[in-house]
Symmetry: C2
Subunit: 130 residues, 2 copies
DNA sequence: CCTTGACCTTCCAGCGACTGGAAGCCCTAT
DNA sequence: ATAGGGCTTCCAGTCGCTGGAAGGTCAAGG
């Protein structure tokens, strides 16, 4: 398989796949013309990576997850720990964003949004007082 | 005021303040020795920027907000529009993260987290099937 | 056989918003 | 005189790609 095919099947852009090779996540073979040749195992890894990335794992997490996946003697506890730590970070970020949303939506509601210059959004930013 | 003082008062690291000068958000004066000299108005702007950044506005949004703030003839509608667009982005991001959280917390729950290698988290990543 | 166009290759630069570190000047206190 | 802290600039790195340039390769059509 060439990069275009595998990109389509894995749902990842060719650029991303080349990048993953660069950083050593995959190591496809090479044809005599220099083209990358992907095995089924490469495709499988790419799909794995795509799903892990879609869950928000960092590239380094993905590297670890792949290594765990390929290690028959892994302990599921290690995987779970990684996932839990990641989940905690996501929950932190959600909390942050929800706090922003709260403040912002209050501000938006309180702003007339007309031709006049008076604007509680700017006043709040200027003074930190609501 | 020197950069250290203003950093403390504005709650921003000196590095960030220098960066804000680099990109033209503020233009402090200079002492004969080359040190930056901050006026009250600079401090005020920095505090404004700190609050806007804390609400998640991009630097370019902040630039626009500052300009609106300093324009007596602004229409509050312009500010509101910017804030609303930003709010929408935040809500999108929250939705994304919540979807991740949902999947991840299911996976974490389903994983024994013991010494055995069997792990639904890895199976899910490998196959995309739960 | 030649051309066209789609694919592939590498390499370099840029995104956003800083942050770390090096090298060196300045100022104050002892 | 020296020690320390603070200030300066500049360069590089973060993260995960993404865009673009310059050029090689391949299959189909004329």
């Amino acid at each position: 398989m060439n990069i275009g095919d595998v990109a389509q099947k894995a749902g990842l852009p060719p650029k991303t796949i080349r990048y993953y090779e660069d950083i050593g996540l995959i190591t496809p073979l090479r044809d005599t013309n220099g083209y990358r040749v992907f095995r089924e195992s490469d495709l499988h890894k790419l799909a794995f990576l795509g799903r892990a990335r879609a869950l928000g794992f960092t590239i380094e997490d993905c590297r670890t997850l792949l290594a765990l996946y390929e290690d028959d003697t892994r302990a599921s506890a290690d995987v779970k720990e990684l996932a839990q730590a990641h989940l905690a970070k996501i929950e932190d970020k959600i909390a942050q964003l929800e706090s922003m949303r709260g403040t912002l939506s209050d501000l938006v509601k309180s702003c007339a949004g007309d031709n006049r210059p008076d604007c509680p959004i700017l006043s709040d930013l200027a003074t930190g007082q609501h």
